[in-house]
Amino acid sequence: MSAAADKPRLSRAHVLDLLKQMIRIRRFEDKCAELYTREKIRGFLHLYDGEEAVAVGVIPVLEKRDRVVATYREHGHALVRGVPMTAVLAEMYGRLEGCSRGRGGSMHLFDHASNFYGGNAIVGGGLPLAAGLALADRMRGEPVVTACFFGEGAVAEGEFHESLNLAALWGLPVLFVCENNLYAMGTALALSESETDIQRKAACYRIQAEAVDGMDVVAVEAAGRRAVHAVRETGKPYFLECRTYRLRAHSMFDAQLYRDKAEVEAWRLKEPIVRFQGWLEANRMIHADDLVRIEAEIAAEIAEAVAFAESGTWEPLDQLTRFTYADKAA
């Protein structure tokens, strides 16, 4: 898959972990889709199917003190960052035990403990936020990296432009990770950008950039490592374009009129889990029972999450307007 230079880190434990994290997201989201049709999960549900290598490649490279800003398609990011699956699923059920106390739902997973700053349902809305988080770190002289994930659709928004300029101008330690899955809902990249080579956008702000095959978890990880390292060393922003593809619908309401089944099928052949697994098999880095174990562990984790969410409680109605503002100090 990737260049020899990156291979040293590929211990068996490590590659199995990469694989497991991707499968974990996939299986979890398959369960979410099922729970959605069973109306356990409501609202909008955006699946990450096909894009798992991005979160799995980048997020584990971050340190605990670093910060993550994501979008409404963020289940994978939350899980990889360490938000417990129980709390994520309970959130999607709207339970008090959810990671956002049930108030946010699928699009607003937050977790203070892991510096996970959401879950933003406004396309592009997370970018200024990420710049601000990084500004705080910069002003305090803390070598913290803020990783900001967003889709290629967000690139057309004014907030993208303003945030990249601010980050470059002020030297803010933001890792901008563009998940370029070629579509913004039903709008193909060529219909939203006059320059479709997204990583080139960064140069307009004098930000260092790289594009990587987002279906190759090893390549993403290597690029992620370079990127995080660069941000931490220089204190300056870095732009990483991950070229990927969304294999499922945009959300559960999407008839996918805008693309051919054949295109989706062609991409399915490149999808990150099968591809990585095949490569591991070819290189004899994985055994059949590894997979069995991984699947079993994940199944158990999901079962536990479902049980947790199912047995969760509802916020009492008299708490409705709470948290509009902070509770008054006692």
């Binding site: 339970r95 939203s192 509802w314 109605l317 409705l320």
Partner: protein, 335 residues
């Protein structure tokens, strides 16, 4: 406009289809009309309103835009100033905040500050309202808030006739018109005259006549209010239900005529309570019909909280029939 005879012939239709028919009709009748917005074309519209129109009218007139709310709304305003009649779809009111500078500082001001030389006859449509468990950033009801802005008109079609009929009239207006379609209505089915056409956009309408209390509302809340009126009827309270239809300008005459008759009023409005449109209507009633009031005007609005995701909290956050019933009874001293 549809005659009484023609009304005999009706078709079964959804609100979504009624809006689509209105757009199709406008595109056919006037070359200058086009639809632009995020995912109006290939995707078929985020609420499937424009499904099929791309195939029929082509990508120039069913124009998919990048995610650039300020840019394409401003472009719609500019195109209108240059003689076109764009229908800008802003997907949902939640994203319209990104376009507010263009709406308030350009569209709403240009006629005045140019001394009447230029106008912006653009129609801006968007979905509004909560009820789909979309949480804090996707559930705003800001149509009443927009009604604060001089220079624009604000419509809230609640019925199939209005969904079908308001667009064309709005397109004839020389000034910018915002149309808010409540998300909970798109699937609403009903009968519409086969030849339904344009309707006026300046009169409120009494949707249910009654003598005991005036319930004033619009948009998605109309149906909850009618439901409440039925329940009240069962308890011997005869409520009159007014559908404002136009939130700016407001048709004071219809409201005052009703209140003068019933002497009591409750306003139902999905906006957050403080600074709601309901407050404006209450104030107008006080200004214009204070001496006819037998009780304080009541209001049923959304609670002062970003809309929460869980169903039970979301339901409790926005107006519902039981709250309307309770407010009506309170106004009648029957709490």
């Amino acid at each position: 406009m549809a005659t009484a005879q023609a009304k005999a012939q009706t078709i079964e239709i959804t609100y979504r289809e009624a809006v689509r028919e209105a757009i199709r009709d406008a595109l056919k009748r006037d070359d200058r009309v086009f639809l632009m917005g995020e995912d109006v074309g290939r995707y078929g519209g985020c609420y499937a309103v424009s499904k099929g129109l791309l195939a029929e009218f082509g990508p120039e007139r069913i124009r998919d835009t990048p995610l650039s709310e300020s840019g394409f709304t401003g472009a719609g305003i500019g195109a209108a100033m240059a003689g076109m009649r764009p229908i800008v779809e802003l997907m949902t009111v939640n994203f319209s905040l990104l376009a507010l500078d263009q709406i308030l500082n350009t569209a709403a001001t240009v006629r005045h500050m140019s001394g009447n030389q230029f106008g912006a006859p653009v129609v801006i449509r968007m979905a509004t309202g909560a009820g789909r468990q979309l949480a804090a950033q996707h559930s705003h009801s800001l149509e009443g808030w927009y009604a604060h802005i001089p220079g624009i008109k604000v419509l809230a079609p609640a019925t199939l006739d209005d969904a079908r009929g308001m667009l064309w009239t709005a397109l004839q207006d020389p000034d910018p018109v915002l149309i808010f379609e409540n998300v909970m209505l798109y699937n609403m089915t009903g009968k519409l005259a086969a030849d339904a056409g344009p309707v006026d956009i300046d009169k409120a309408v009494v949707r249910r006549a009654g003598k005991d209390i005036s319930l004033v509302t619009y948009g998605g809340s109309l149906w909850k209010t009618l439901q409440a009126a039925d329940a009240l009827a069962a308890e011997g309270i005869d409520a009159e239900v007014i559908d404002l239809r136009s939130l700016r300008p407001l048709d004071d005459a219809t409201v005052m005529a009703s209140v003068s008759k019933t002497r009591r009023a409750v306003i139902v409005d999905e906006g957050w309570r403080t600074g709601s449109l309901a407050a404006e209507i209450c104030t107008r009633i006080v200004e214009q019909a204070f001496w006819e009031l037998d009780a304080p005007v009541g209001r049923v609005c959304s609670e002062e909280v970003p809309i929460p995701y869980p169903r039970h909290l979301e339901e409790a956050a926005i107006p519902q029939a039981p709250k309307i019933i309770a407010a009506a009874k309170a106004a009648l001293g029957r709490a």
